[in-house]
C-alpha cells in the first residue's frame, strides 16, 4: 500500500479511495485515486508548479479546477494518441496515464527561456508588432522559429491518430446546457412532459457547484442526496438523454447546437477497444435552457501568477470534491462575499485558513462573524501588494489600499503556501453570445449578463447572475417547465449559497514593483493595458489585439472582465461604454478530428468511376481525378513512363485508330415544345434551324460575356435534345439551366434531366475508325450517309447506341453512347476488330495533346474568368442575329479591347523543349520585375510535329502572329514564336478518314 499523498485530506470527496491509480508526470511516478483529475492528483502531492508562461516563461501553477484553466496545459498520452494542450483540470486520472508539462525547454525546473522574465522591459505590449517589424527577411529565418520554439503550446505527435471519431445528428424539444443544480432542475421539469430532452454536462459528474460545497440542502434533503435522486429520476425517463463528458461548444442559428461528447478518456482505450474517441453531435433543439454557471475572476496584483495562487472557489472544489487541501496555510484574498463562502467551505473540509484580505473597507455579516470565530484574521480595506516566491508561493505583502486600489505604506508580510483569490464572478454567457445576444454590465453583481435572451433560449442560475442556490434551482425548474408549456414544480426549502456578492470595483492592486497579470495565459499585464491606451488604442477590440489579452486558447475566460475593468478605470468610462469583446465558437478548444469524423482517406469525398473503370484497371491504366471522377490518364505498357505512353497513344490515333472512355462527359436531356427556343437563348450560336439528327458545338456564356461552359448539342427530335458538358461542369450547368427556366423564362415548356450516368461513352478516333466500327454496327458509316457533325441512332454490338460523328482530335471520330452495361463488351469488340490496325486505348493526357494540336480549347484550362469567345478566336460561333445570355456583356467596350489576353499558339525556338504550363510570358530578357503579358495554358510534346508546342493567353495575341515572345522557365527567358493556335491540318482534311 502506498503512503497517502501529503495533501490528501483523510476523508471526504467524490473520489474512490479503493481504486489507487499510478500515473506518470514528466517521468515521475505518482499515485492518485479514481475520481481525481490530473490536477487534483498533482495537488495532492503538493505539486503546484506545472508549466511555464507563454511569453516570460515564469513558473505557473494550477490556477483553477475547470475548463477556464489558463496555466496547467499538459500533453497527455503516447504515440498517435498524444494530445497537447489539455487542461490538467479536465483530464480524468486513469491507470498508467502519461502526462508531461509543456512550454519548458529543456526542463520545467531549469528553463533557459525564463531569461525572458528579466528581459521583460524589452517585451512590452505590442512587442510582436514593434519588435518584429524589420527587416522583413528576418521574419521567416529568425523571428518565426524563435517565437514558435518559445511559444510552447505543445506539439502534435506527428503520427496518425489511431482512434475514430463519429458524427451524429439528433433532435430534441429542449436542450439543457449544464448539469448543475439549475440545469438538473430544468431537465427534470422539462422531462416530466414526456418530450425529448437532452441534458449536457462537460464534466463527467453532474452537480456543478454542489460538488464543491458542503452543508447545502434542497427540498429539505442534503444536496448530495438530492443530486443522486435527480440522476436516478432522469435516468428513468426514456425521453431524457443525459450526456456527461459533453461540451456544448457552439450555438448556431435556428436552434442548431454543436456538442462534443468525449467517450474515451486517455488511458481507457483498452476498456472500450471499438468505441470512438469522441462523438460530434449536431443537435437541433428549438428551445434551450442555458444553465452554464459562472466562472470566478482572479485579482490583479504583483506576482499574482505564482504557483500556489488559485481561485478561491477552485480551492474549495479541491478540498470538497477531491479531498485535497491547497496548502498547509491558506490566505484568502477577495473583493466580494463569495471569498467568505469559499473560506468557510475550506475550513469545514479541514483546511487551515489564516486570514482573509478584503478590499472592501467594512465587510460584515454572518460569514465574517463565523470566520472570526474560527480564528481567521480579517484585513478589511487591504489588498495584496505583492506575492513572493520563486517556484512556489512563500509570503504575501498585505497592505492597506486607497479607494483607487493603490497600496499604501505599512501593512504586514505574512507567510503562507496557498492563496485563494476571488475577484467576483462572470456568468458563462458564451452560447447566447454566439447567437448575437446583447450583453450589458450589471452593476449590482458586477458582471456582464445577457440583456435579452435570443428566441427560444432561457438563461438561468449562475449564467444569469443568480448566484443564490435557491434562486438558481427555481429559475431552472421554471425555465424547464415553460420550455414544454408546463408550470414549474414547487420546491421545498433550499438552503445554500447566498446570491448577493457585494462586489467591490477594485480588482487591481497597484503596487510599485512586480508584474500584475491580467491574462495569465498570454502573459499580458495591467501595465500593458495602460501602455496600449497611452499609445492611442481606445477600442477594447484594439486593446485586446495589441496586448493579445484574451486571445489565447482560453479566450480570456478569466481575463476579459478584469481587462475591461482596468480599461474602464484608466479611460474613466462606464463598463457598458468600454464594451465587451465578442465571444465566438467553440467555447472550449475542439479537436479537428471530431469535426472531420469519418470523412477521412477513402471517405473524404465520393469517388465516381465509369462503367469502363475496371476494364481500364486490367489494362494497367494510370488514373487522374477530374472533379469527383477518376479518369484513365494513360495506359502504360511494360517499361513505359507517362511520356512514352502518351507519345505512343497519340501517334496511334493520328496514324491508325484509338479510343478513349468518354463516359464522364456531362449529359443533359432537354425536352419540351420550347426546347429549341430555350437552347437558342443559352448558347451563343443559333439552335432554331438545327435539323433532327444534327450536332453542333456550342458555347455558353455568363451574363458578363465570358465563357461558362462548352459542349455538343444533338437534336434527337423537334422537341428533344441532348447536350454534353465538360466533365467537371455538369452539375453547375444543370443548376444554371434550371435557374433560367425556373426563375426567368417560366413560360417555356422545357424539362431537363441529367443523363450522365445513363449513357456510357467511347470516343473512337483515327483514320481507320470507320473500318473498325463498321463491322460492329447496323448504321451506315459512309462519309456521305453519315456526314461530320451528324448523329445517328442504331445498334453497336447488339446494344442500343447513339453515335455522334464529332471529333476532338481532328481525326475521323465517332462518339459512341450506349447503356452502361454494354460498355465493356463494346470496348472488347473494338479491341478485337481493331486488332489488325493496332487499335490503341488512350487516356485523358493523349486526348489533351491531340486536341491541342488542333487548337481546341479545354474550358477551364485555356481560358480564365475574363476570357470571351472573341479572345479565344471563337467569335464565329456567336450569332449576331439573336440575343443570348452573355451577348450584351461581351459587347461592352472593355470586352473588345485589342490589348486583351487572347489565345495564341507558341512554338519554342528550342524544338525539344516543352514549356511548363502556367509559366508567365513577357518581352525580352524577363529580368524581374517585368510586365507579365500572359501565360502558357497548355503545353505538350507532339509526336506528329516532332517538337514541343503550346497555347497561351497573351495580350494583343491575335495581332502578334509571327512575333517572338519570351516564356519564363526556371528563371530563364525562353524565346517562342507566336503562331495561330492551329498546328495541324488547318483545312480539316483528316476529318474524312480513310475510305471516305
Amino acid at each position: 500500500m502506498k503512503a497517502v499523498a501529503k495533501y490528501r485530506l483523510p476523508s471526504g470527496g467524490h473520489i474512490d479511495r479503493s481504486q489507487l491509480l499510478q500515473f506518470s508526470w514528466g517521468g515521475r511516478t505518482l499515485h492518485g485515486f479514481h475520481g481525481d483529475t490530473l490536477a487534483s492528483a498533482l495537488l495532492a502531492h503538493g505539486i503546484h508548479f506545472v508549466g511555464r508562461s507563454f511569453k516570460y516563461h515564469r513558473p505557473r501553477g494550477i490556477y483553477t479546477a475547470g475548463v477556464e484553466e489558463p496555466n496547467a496545459l499538459v500533453t497527455v498520452g503516447r504515440n498517435g494518441r498524444m494530445t497537447p494542450n489539455l487542461r490538467a483540470t479536465e483530464v480524468l486520472l486513469t491507470e498508467g496515464l502519461n502526462a508531461v508539462p509543456q512550454n519548458a525547454w529543456p526542463s520545467l525546473d531549469f528553463d533557459l527561456l525564463s531569461v525572458n522574465n528579466f528581459l521583460s522591459p524589452f517585451l512590452p505590449a505590442g512587442f510582436y508588432y514593434k519588435t518584429f517589424m524589420s527587416p522583413a527577411a528576418w521574419w521567416h529565418k529568425r523571428y518565426e522559429p524563435m517565437i514558435r520554439r518559445s511559444a510552447g503550446l505543445g506539439c502534435a505527435s506527428g503520427q496518425a491518430d489511431p482512434d475514430s471519431y463519429e458524427r451524429r445528428y439528433a433532435y430534441a424539444e429542449v436542450l439543457v446546457v449544464g448539469g448543475g443544480a439549475a440545469g438538473l432542475a430544468a431537465a427534470h421539469a422539462a422531462g416530466q412532459s414526456g418530450k425529448r430532452v437532452v441534458l449536457v454536462e462537460q464534466d463527467w459528474l453532474l452537480g456543478g457547484s454542489l460538488l464543491a460545497r458542503t452543508g447545502e440542502t434542497i427540498d429539505g434533503e442534503p444536496a448530495r442526496a438530492w443530486l443522486a435522486k435527480m440522476q436516478r429520476e432522469l435516468a428513468a425517463m426514456d425521453n431524457v438523454q443525459v450526456l456527461p463528458n459533453t461540451t456544448c461548444f457552439a450555438a448556431y442559428e435556428h436552434g442548431m447546437w454543436g456538442l462534443l461528447e468525449r467517450l474515451r478518456h486517455h488511458g481507457t482505450e483498452q476498456d472500450k477497444p471499438n468505441a470512438p474517441r469522441q462523438r460530434m453531435w449536431w443537435l437541433r433543439a428549438p428551445r434551450s435552457v442555458i444553465a452554464t454557471g459562472a466562472i470566478e475572476r482572479p485579482m490583479v496584483f504583483a506576482n499574482n501568477d505564482l504557483p500556489g495562487v488559485t481561485l478561491a472557489s477552485s480551492a474549495a472544489t479541491y478540498a470538497n470534491r477531491f479531498a485535497v487541501k491547497p496548502g498547509d496555510r491558506t490566505i484568502v484574498f477577495t473583493n466580494n462575499n463569495s471569498g467568505y463562502v469559499s473560506a468557510l467551505s475550506l475550513i469545514e473540509a479541514g483546511v487551515e485558513v489564516k486570514a482573509i484580505v478584503d478590499t472592501r473597507p467594512a465587510p460584515s455579516g454572518a460569514m465574517a462573524q463565523r470566520l472570526l470565530e474560527c480564528g481567521v484574521t480579517i484585513f478589511p480595506g487591504h489588498g495584496i501588494s505583492r506575492a513572493r516566491g520563486w517556484h512556489d508561493l512563500h509570503h504575501l505583502r498585505i497592505a492597506p489600499i486607497d479607494e483607487e486600489g493603490v497600496a499604501q505604506r505599512g501593512g504586514v508580510l505574512m507567510s503562507c503556501d496557498s492563496l485563494a483569490v476571488s475577484g467576483g464572478w462572470s456568468p458563462v454567457i458564451h452560447l447566447p453570445s454566439h447567437q448575437g445576444a446583447k450583453v450589458q454590465w450589471n452593476e449590482e453583481q458586477a458582471c456582464f449578463i445577457v440583456a435579452e435572451a435570443p428566441a427560444g433560449m432561457a438563461i438561468v442560475g449562475g449564467a444569469a447572475a443568480s448566484f443564490a442556490l435557491a434562486q438558481a434551482v427555481q429559475e431552472g425548474a421554471t425555465a424547464g417547465a415553460s420550455a414544454v408549456g408546463a408550470t414549474a414544480p414547487a420546491y421545498g426549502a433550499i438552503h445554500g449559497a447566498e446570491g448577493a456578492l457585494d462586489c467591490d470595483s477594485i480588482a487591481w492592486i497597484k503596487g510599485k514593483r512586480g508584474k500584475a497579470f491580467v491574462d495569465l495565459q498570454n502573459d499580458s499585464t495591467a501595465k500593458d493595458l495602460a501602455l496600449a491606451i497611452r499609445e492611442g488604442y481606445e477600442s477594447i477590440e484594439h486593446v485586446k489585439r495589441y496586448t493579445t489579452t484574451g486571445m489565447a486558447t482560453d479566450q480570456g475566460k478569466l481575463a476579459n472582465v478584469n481587462a475591461i475593468r482596468i480599461v474602464s478605470k484608466i479611460r474613466g468610462l462606464p463598463m457598458n461604454e468600454v464594451g465587451v469583446t465578442t465571444f465566438r465558437a467553440p467555447y472550449t478548444p475542439t479537436t479537428l478530428a471530431a469535426f472531420a469524423g469519418r470523412e477521412l482517406d477513402d471517405f473524404l469525398q465520393p469517388e465516381r468511376i465509369t462503367p469502363l473503370h475496371d476494364w481500364s484497371v486490367t489494362l494497367g491504366a494510370a488514373f487522374e481525378p477530374v472533379g469527383q471522377w477518376m479518369r484513365a490518364w494513360y495506359y502504360p505498357k511494360a517499361g513505359e513512363d507517362m511520356h512514352r505512353a502518351v507519345q505512343r497513344e497519340s501517334a496511334a490515333v493520328r496514324e491508325s485508330v484509338g479510343f478513349m472512355d468518354a463516359s464522364t462527359l456531362g449529359k443533359i436531356e432537354v425536352r419540351g415544345k420550347d426546347a429549341a427556343e430555350f437552347l437558342n437563348r443559352v448558347y451563343t450560336n443559333g439552335m432554331l434551324k438545327m435539323p433532327a439528327g444534327a450536332c453542333r458545338y456550342g458555347l455558353m456564356l455568363n451574363e458578363e460575356g465570358t465563357l461558362f461552359d462548352d459542349g455538343v448539342i444533338s437534336r434527337l427530335a423537334d422537341d428533344r435534345f441532348f447536350i454534353s458538358t465538360t466533365t467537371g461542369g455538369a452539375p453547375r450547368v444543370l443548376a444554371w439551366l434550371e435557374l433560367w427556366l425556373q426563375t426567368e423564362w417560366t413560360d417555356l415548356e422545357v424539362w431537363l434531366t441529367s443523363i450522365t450516368e445513363q449513357w456510357a461513352a467511347l470516343a473512337l478516333n483515327g483514320p481507320k475508325a470507320r473500318k473498325v466500327l463498321q463491322p460492329l454496327t447496323d448504321i451506315d458509316l459512309g462519309h456521305e450517309a453519315f456526314p461530320y457533325m451528324r448523329f445517328r441512332e442504331g445498334q453497336v454490338c447488339g446494344a442500343k447506341a447513339r453515335i455522334l460523328r464529332v471529333s476532338f482530335t481532328g481525326e475521323l471520330g465517332y462518339e459512341i453512347h450506349m447503356a452502361p452495361e454494354a460498355a465493356v463488351s463494346v470496348a472488347e469488340d473494338l479491341m478485337e476488330t481493331g486488332a489488325e490496325y493496332k487499335i490503341t486505348p488512350y487516356g485523358t493526357e493523349s486526348m489533351h495533346l491531340l486536341r491541342a494540336e488542333k487548337g481546341f480549347i479545354i474550358a477551364g484550362q485555356d481560358n480564365e474568368g475574363t476570357t470571351t469567345p472573341d479572345d479565344l478566336g471563337l467569335s464565329g460561333l456567336c450569332s449576331t442575329k439573336k440575343d443570348y445570355v452573355g451577348r450584351r456583356g461581351a459587347e461592352r467596350a472593355g470586352m473588345r479591347r485589342e490589348d486583351r489576353k487572347q489565345l495564341v499558339g507558341l512554338l519554342p525556338e528550342n524544338e525539344t523543349l516543352v514549356l511548363p504550363e502556367g509559366v508567365p510570358l513577357g518581352a525580352g530578357e524577363l529580368t524581374p520585375p517585368f510586365p507579365i503579358l500572359g501565360h502558357v495554358t497548355s503545353s505538350y510534346m507532339s509526336p506528329t510535329l516532332k517538337r514541343g508546342f503550346a497555347m497561351g493567353l497573351l495580350r494583343r495575341g491575335h495581332k502578334r502572329h509571327g512575333e517572338t515572345i519570351s516564356a519564363l522557365v526556371k528563371g530563364a527567358a525562353v524565346p517562342c514564336k507566336i503562331v495561330p493556335p492551329m498546328f495541324l491540318d488547318p483545312d480539316g482534311e483528316r476529318l474524312r478518314g480513310e475510305d471516305a
Partner: protein, 97 residues
C-alpha cells in the same frame, strides 16, 4: 445551420440547399438597348442590406426547385418562403428593440 422552409418539402437543413443570389432581379427585356451602366446594374449591383433581404435558394439535394426566401441578415430570422411564381413573403412590421 439554418433551417430553410422549402415551399415544396418543408423545413430542411441548410446543407441541402444552395444560395442562388439576391431575389427579385429580372433579366432586362431589351439588352442591346441598355447602356453599360444599366447592364452593370443588372449583372453586378446587388443590395447588401443589414436587415431583411429577398433571396433565392435552390433545394439542390431535395426537390431541385428555386424559390424565394426573405431573411434578416442580422438575426438570420427567416420570414417565410414562396415559389418563384408567387410574391415574396411579407415581412412583419419590425418591433422596436
Amino acid at each position: 445551420m439554418l433551417l430553410i422552409p422549402c415551399p415544396w418539402c418543408g423545413e430542411r437543413a441548410e446543407a441541402e440547399f444552395t444560395y442562388a443570389g439576391e431575389g427579385g432581379i429580372a433579366r432586362p427585356k431589351n439588352p442591346p438597348e441598355l447602356s453599360d451602366q444599366e447592364w452593370a446594374d443588372y449583372v453586378y449591383y446587388r443590395h447588401n442590406p443589414k436587415g431583411t433581404h429577398h433571396e433565392l435558394w435552390l433545394h439542390l439535394h431535395g426537390c431541385g426547385k428555386y424559390f424565394r426566401v426573405v431573411r434578416d441578415t442580422v438575426s438570420n430570422q427567416i420570414y417565410g418562403s414562396a415559389p418563384m411564381l408567387e410574391a415574396p413573403p411579407a415581412v412583419p412590421e419590425r418591433k422596436e428593440v
